[in-house]
Amino acid sequence: MEPQHLVQFAIFGLNIGAIYALIALGFVAVFSITGIINFAQGEFAMLGAMIAAWLVRAEWPLPVAGLVAVLAVAAVGALLELGVIRPAGSASIVTLIIITIGASVLFKGLAVMAWGPDPVRLPPFTAGPPLRVLGARLLPQDLWVLGTTAVVVVGLSLFFRRTLQGKAMRAVAMNRYAARLMGIDARRTSTAAFALAGGLGAIGGIVIAPSASAYWDMGTGLGLKGFVAAILGGMGAGGAVLGGLVLGVVEELCAGLAPSGFGGYKDAVAFVILLGMLFFRPGGFLGRVPGRGGL
């Protein structure tokens, strides 16, 4: 093992961590506005990747296919909220969570029906040989992943701080009751949160699809890791991004440095970190108060 391999693992980690971050942001958006842990969040990523791959195969240009996929999954998110979450009304949070589990099952089933069980290919956004960074290889697609995530994070931050809808969402996240008194339609905000979560998930799925592969069950693992990242970040937006990146890098470094035969522990790494943090620093590593969260 040489230094450039460590750099290489860090690059892999930042890549997958960026996807965790996008998915974690989706969790945070829905959770801070509705209190629901949306178990279909990973499936948003899957749907985004599958729809984009499907459109590209139908010879749509990639940018159009990607945009349509993101919008379509955002619409799916909004429909999920309007169709079942809202009618469930004041059901307990566990009930609402089970509804999202049902949605996750549904999306996976539909995906297999529509696109079959085999992985589908989405070509890299730009072709080209890997770049060399400190002796490690940086693929063009890696740049797309990191760049897209950065743009999304900056865009989201502007959205929450500059736009009316964004400010309304932040207000609801801080205090739903007070926000309502101020004339903010909290129900519309919930719909918007699900749509936002759908869009974020879809973006994550689409950018990762060329380097991993897109198939019906890809969302399960991504969703769980995104959830862990969100918790690590104390259910706040900034923490979620950091949580995702840290989780990705730590995971890859552990997998990369583990001796042969211990690679199978990789998936447990995230949860060992999680339990350690919950037991010793329950507010997330940014030290937020548990349950407060926010955008």
Partner: protein
């Protein structure tokens, strides 16, 4: 994934037939919904009949009375079977990670069942193959085996597609004294030999030995292995480490991944960092495609190898250009059209492929071959032994010179596979197709 709690998937043969391009009317099953449906009355199918004309080519090595050519049914192609059906059970991985194996196996059994019935059945009675899906899960395969033996009262069981489920099924077969023919590669299935257990695919030892021979020839010493954590992958790792040690190779890296993994770049980087001179992937499902894709992305220069589990068209379709130059070891049926004239597997494979292509609109692969040979091993034994499980077992063990698609089987009490080294060839992807390497 969430919804698939039940262990069993029951595939009534009849309904599946509806999807095939066959003209035979398929009545909806009238039995209780859960019950595996009775096999269709072998309706004379104008489309299938000509293709299914019996010609399991008798090989010169076949002893009289042992090969399928000697079966009375084959001699009387138009005889109509009657009486109680002869029931053979099968548990296949039609869904889940091993679905690319299980689906051609299922199709083969359905086609061959019809062909045999068109030819007059088994010992004058209709053949019925009861197929269950085990979702590539070990415990489901065992539950299926129990069901086939207890409820369906089959004379023998075929399956499963994968090594894990097959190994798990062994105790059940032994305990219930039911002959079992596995369609999986792991040598552990038949070594040490178990009284009631047989298999048709070449062992992973045979598959891997071809690689080791090639590496020796090319002077490659440092080996890297990346395997999935399914039964096939894990047993394959053990074989790999054993063969490498015995034959003086240095294993510089062994990495594993979940069958559901979507990215193997970390593992590949580790193997590359260990300066392996050849990298072998041993796994089923989407893993090998990701392996090949990631290896190309990382610009890994050393030759890469995949297991026989990837020798099918789907691998090439999914991996695209990245598949070019990938080397695999597989059975001759995959490249039957490239085999020299007179090769014993050429005729039988071409023959079966015609009917297969006509019905399913795809070519046979080696999984089809495994299933084909397993069912014929059973029916040939039943022709000779009658419907008695113990005698069927004896007759399978007595099989000599049976020319199957996988090779020529010569079973014995110590060899419950009966295939020799010639059952495996090296293949390479060239211009979007698997080709014989030599």
């Amino acid at each position: 994934m969430w919804g698939s709690s039940a262990a069993l998937r029951i595939i009534p043969a009849v309904v599946l037939l509806a999807t095939a391009c066959q003209a035979a009317p398929t009545a909806a099953p009238t039995t209780a919904p859960a019950k595996p449906t009775e096999a269709p009355k072998p309706a004379p199918s104008p489309a299938a009949s000509p293709a299914a004309s019996p010609s399991p080519s008798p090989s010169p090595a076949a002893k009289p009375g042992a090969g399928p050519a000697a079966s009375p049914a084959a001699a009387a192609p138009v005889g109509k079977p009657s009486g109680e059906p002869i029931k053979i059970g099968a548990t296949l991985s039609i869904t889940g990670n091993n679905a690319p194996l299980g689906i051609p196996e299922r199709d083969t059994l359905l086609l061959l069942q019809d062909q045999i019935n068109d030819r007059g059945g088994v010992a004058g009675r209709p053949l019925q193959v009861v197929i269950l899906d085990d979702e590539s899960k070990d415990d489901a395969a065992v539950a299926n085996t129990k069901r086939l033996i207890q409820d369906e009262r089959v004379l023998g069981v075929i399956g499963s597609s994968g090594s894990g489920p097959s190994l798990a099924m062994i105790p059940t077969a032994e305990e219930s004294q039911t002959p079992l023919i596995s369609l999986a590669a792991a040598i552990a299935i038949i070594d040490p030999p178990k009284k009631w257990v047989f298999k048709t695919p070449p062992t992973d030892v045979l598959f891997q030995q071809e690689f080791f021979d090639a590496w020796k020839e090319q002077g490659i010493k440092r080996l890297g292995l990346i395997h999935d954590t399914g039964g096939f992958g894990v047993t394959g790792r053990a074989v790999f480490e054993k063969l490498a040690k015995e034959q003086g190779f240095e294993v510089v890296a062994v990495e594993s991944y979940e069958p559901t993994a979507t990215d193997l770049k970390t593992q590949l980087t580790k193997i590359e960092a260990a300066r392996a001179e050849a990298i072998l992937n041993w796994g089923t499902g989407p893993g090998p495609v990701i392996f090949v894709k990631n290896a190309r992305e990382l610009d890994i220069k050393v030759p890469i190898f995949v297991s026989g589990g990837s020798v099918n068209q789907a691998f090439i379709t999914n991996a695209g250009k990245d598949a070019e130059g990938v080397i695999a070891s597989g059975g001759p049926p995959v490249v039957f059209d490239q085999l020299p004239e007179g090769h014993p597997q050429k005729a039988i494979s071409a023959e079966f492929n015609r009917a297969y292509r006509e019905r399913f609109n795809k070519d046979i692969d080696q999984f089809a071959a495994h299933a084909h040979d397993a069912l014929l091993l059973f029916t040939n034994a039943i022709e000779r032994a009658g419907p008695d499980k113990a005698r069927i077992r004896d007759e399978i063990e007595n099989t000599r010179g049976f020319v199957g698609m996988d090779g020529i089987f010569n079973m014995s009490p110590t060899d419950h596979l009966g295939l020799g080294k010639g059952a495996v060839v090296l293949l390479v992807v060239k211009d979007g197709a698997w080709r014989l390497l030599k």
